[in-house]
Symmetry: C2
Subunit: 341 residues, 2 copies
């Protein structure tokens, strides 16, 4: 489908920058958790994003998640010139060829499955293709990276992973505790993902993963999407070169086929919703604390900056073929293997 | 309120046996999970049960639990000659004096609280006075005794225990993993309960507790309700003497003030519901397996057999004062401390 002609009522978007690669690479963003509006979708187009994985649940239960998925059906209808649903890799390649952004629906929690093994298939039937096993707290499935003690994968967790394998749903362990992550890597028939995390040696946060875990992930064919979220790269002032050098070093450490990008972009999210996204309903907000979203680095403020990221990767010495893998082809290969065509 | 006159339409109940103690003791049953009908309530009266703790949720979420609690309001209205709601120890003593059975509402899971700290107060406001932290699988709060690995109390679990303490809701760890149980004993400001469990040395099951845990429970003022559930006493054929001797030995081990009864009676539960009660929705039933409830020992088939249990306790050498503590006064003391008058 051709791009629609410029419309003076369109919101302002960053200038579409040109790629340092020809032809433009197939770009897949491992996760974005924006407050979705047309502006954000235009930014994805400006950055040449072929497909992004959109978070539809963080704390939500089944019913609440059905509403979020319904909203995506309306978005696909309302913004069909910009976006198209992704159910497998054929959709990703078609979106890329058409100059649209594919959207793969997924969860950053297994909370939508509640306590019901049957709900995995239910959500798969309505196009959910990825679920993170836990978000910021322990749940029925396993331990979170923010818990003082990590249970490992529970019996329900093993059942959930097997069911996701059966259906073709990608297992994500980004916010998951290290032990549970290692259990999931072993328990899963298919390789798994860290859609948005970094190596612990780059930035020491519980949200980033140890080298042992990253090597285990890669040994089973998994992929890590390196995240741009400011708190997990060492802050807003971290230079592009440092982030890109981390990617180059990680390619050395775990292999080129296992490193990708998962920005975790939070475009348009108001400060008022940060408390919900961090803590859900499990504890009361501290009335003293005024939460605000961190500022993103000047060199990556939105999905429109993907071409600039490619420049940074060139500058640290990755060749074009390597950059294409990191920007999209590694996710495409993993999704082909797990989710299918 | 006087007992209503005998009614020929009343279901048949076991003959009311006389107590070997005068006056009849105040009897509190730590937990029952019957399919509730008038027959079961008549059995409780026949056994002189002053108060029983009725399970209103095992896997249910908030909405499903609201329905179970609504059903109890109808039962209190329909069977007011036999039962009366218990919100504190004054209600228990009043029920005993009136010759009715008080019913304290509680949960065998924190699933009704879902992921919402505010729901603890909501359920307390509608008379829930006890919640077991986990049932048969790991949840957001902690680890279950049936998990291969026990997380201990999670951050949400600590928040839930503190909230239950604030409101006056008894923490129960009967199905909870040993490590989470020990965490809860330490984290809780108030003493906690094992409403239905036995010492591991009496019957080697993950549902029974180690001596270390039982001593820690008692050291903080907690109480264990020894259960009659056949699988956790060593089977249907376990003689009354063995069960009663276990109680006498446990009194020696952890102190007279910390030993009570929590039958876990499952009266009227059909075999068809056993799968739900054991596994909920977390795994699919095995179509090969025909589940059936275990047969209860001949000497304890229903709550009508409480007087016979008192006989057994006399026979193993407990004196009357000790038997009164075990049959009810220890629960009364604990509930006075935790739940209040």
């Amino acid at each position: 489908m051709p791009q629609q002609p410029a419309d003076p009522t369109e919101p302002a978007v960053p200038h579409r920058r040109s790629w340092p690669l020809e032809p433009a690479p197939l770009v897949i963003d491992g996760v974005e958790i924006n407050r979705w509006d047309r502006q954000v979708l235009l930014e994805a187009r400006a950055g040449g994003v072929s497909t992004l994985h959109a978070t539809c649940a963080v704390w939500e239960d089944a019913r609440e998640t059905l509403r979020a998925l319904g909203a995506w059906r309306r978005r696909f209808a309302d913004h069909g010139d910009l976006i198209t649903p992704v159910r497998g890799t054929d959709d990703i390649e078609r979106a890329h060829a058409q100059g649209r952004t594919g959207v793969m629906l997924g969860f950053q929690n297994t909370s939508p499955f509640e306590d019901d093994i049957e709900l995995v298939e239910t959500f798969h039937r309505i196009d959910v293709r990825c679920a993170q096993l836990t978000y910021n707290v322990q749940n029925l499935v396993g331990g979170s990276c923010f818990e003082p003690s990590d249970s490992g994968l529970s019996r329900f967790g093993e059942a959930i992973v097997a069911e996701m394998n059966r259906l073709g749903m990608l297992v994500d362990c980004s916010h998951v505790g290290e032990w549970t992550t290692r259990d999931a890597i072993e328990a899963s028939r298919d390789p798994i993902a860290l859609t948005h995390a970094n190596p612990r040696w780059f930035c020491d946060s519980p949200r980033n993963k140890s080298s042992e875990t990253l090597k285990a992930l890669a040994a089973r064919g998994g992929v890590i999407g390196c995240t741009l979220y400011p708190l997990f790269i060492g802050g807003t002032d971290t230079p592009r070169e440092a982030f890109c050098q981390m990617i180059a070093d990680l390619v050395e450490e775990i292999g080129l086929d296992h490193v990708a990008i998962g920005t975790d972009l939070t475009r348009g999210q108001p400060d008022a919703d940060l408390g919900w996204l961090r803590d859900g309903r499990w504890r009361r907000p501290d009335p003293e604390q005024r939460l605000s979203w961190p500022e993103w680095p000047a060199w990556f403020r939105s999905a429109a900056d993907f071409p600039a990221l490619a420049e940074g990767l060139l500058e640290v010495g990755l060749d074009e073929a390597a950059i294409r893998k990191v920007l999209g082809e590694n996710w495409l290969r993993l999704l082909g293997q797990v989710v299918g065509p």
